[in-house]
């Protein structure tokens, strides 16, 4: 996990713990899941870029 995602998870976990509202807690949890999803998507795109740029077809 990258630094930003780790930082986001920590911040959002803290916000979730400090909040009494179930709705807010659910939103903070959803934001944690979103941050993980963003990192995954970014990584997938980066991997695809690397793969296509280094394709043997282009050598």
């Amino acid at each position: 996990m990258n630094d930003t995602t780790t930082w986001l998870i920590n911040q959002l976990t803290e916000l979730k713990q400090d909040d009494q509202s179930f709705i807010n807690k659910s939103l903070y949890q959803a934001a944690i899941e979103l941050a993980k999803e963003q990192e995954k998507r970014a990584q997938q795109s980066q991997d695809e870029l690397d793969g296509r740029i280094w394709s043997p077809d282009k050598w």
């Binding site: 930003t4 986001l8 949890q29 941050a35 998507r41 970014a42 795109s45 740029i53």
Partner: protein, 234 residues
């Protein structure tokens, strides 16, 4: 985005699932609701003011029918409401619902997994709800993927958190629910959680929002790069 939820449920106040959903949608300003059963029961004659109900829908972009599945359809009150309010003149001649979206929130006592070919129920939710889809088609509405709440009583707190957010998104997020649309929706909701909080927490939420937006920008930019390279190759 303004949403009207039309709830059909003979015992709305007694339903734990419906009360959970009600508490959830109360957090959204642009969502209004109407319990159809109460509309009929509060009328002495048993008739409703059709003109008023038709006019009430004008303001909304998304109409959501919310009901428990009774014998593979909605409870009778929704059918009654549709027969009374959605006159041919209103729907077909005047195209009054055109450009609106139609969503279905259906609650099940059985597992959703039973609703598939070979499963206990044999038919999918999409098949069983086909009349609503046909109605959306006829009226020029955009039919949204039905939102299924199954076996609410068995859900643990984590599942309830996920359900709550997914339900709120179904009511108020731009469709389809792409990552980008979910991010924009969530950022707007996070802004709303700042209300009543101390300055340091407001700052923390702002920082979180900035980071989520930065990450999303990275995702979108990489997606563009991938598309460009793919297009060049093909």
């Amino acid at each position: 985005m303004k949403t009207l939820i039309l709830i059909s449920h003979p015992k709305f106040e007694d339903s734990g699932t419906q009360q959970f959903l009600k508490t959830s949608f109360y957090s959204l300003d642009d969502v209004k609701y109407q319990v159809i059963d109460e509309l009929y029961s509060s009328s002495e004659s048993g008739q409703i003011d059709v003109d008023k109900e038709q006019a009430a829908m004008t303001d909304f972009d998304r109409i959501v029918f919310q009901f428990p599945m009774y014998w593979y359809s909605s409870p009778a009150s929704l059918k009654q409401f549709m027969d009374d309010v959605f006159t041919r003149n209103y729907v077909v001649a005047n195209r009054s619902l055109k450009t609106k979206e139609l969503g279905i929130v259906v609650t099940l006592g059985d597992s959703e997994a039973d609703f598939q070919a070979g499963g206990k129920e044999q038919f999918t939710i999409s098949e069983l709800l086909r009349p609503f889809q046909a109605f959306a088609n006829k009226s020029g509405m955009t039919y949204l993927k039905p939102f299924v709440v199954n076996q609410f009583g068995y859900k643990d707190p984590t599942e309830k958190e996920q359900l709550l957010v997914a339900y709120l998104q179904y009511l108020s997020a731009e469709m389809p629910l792409s990552l980008e649309n979910r991010e924009q929706w969530l950022v707007a909701r996070l802004q709303a959680t700042k209300e009543g909080k101390a300055d340091d927490q407001v700052q923390a939420i702002d920082l979180v929002i900035n980071s989520l937006e930065d990450q999303q920008a990275t995702v979108e930019s990489l997606k563009q790069d991938v598309k460009m390279i793919r297009d060049q190759e093909e």
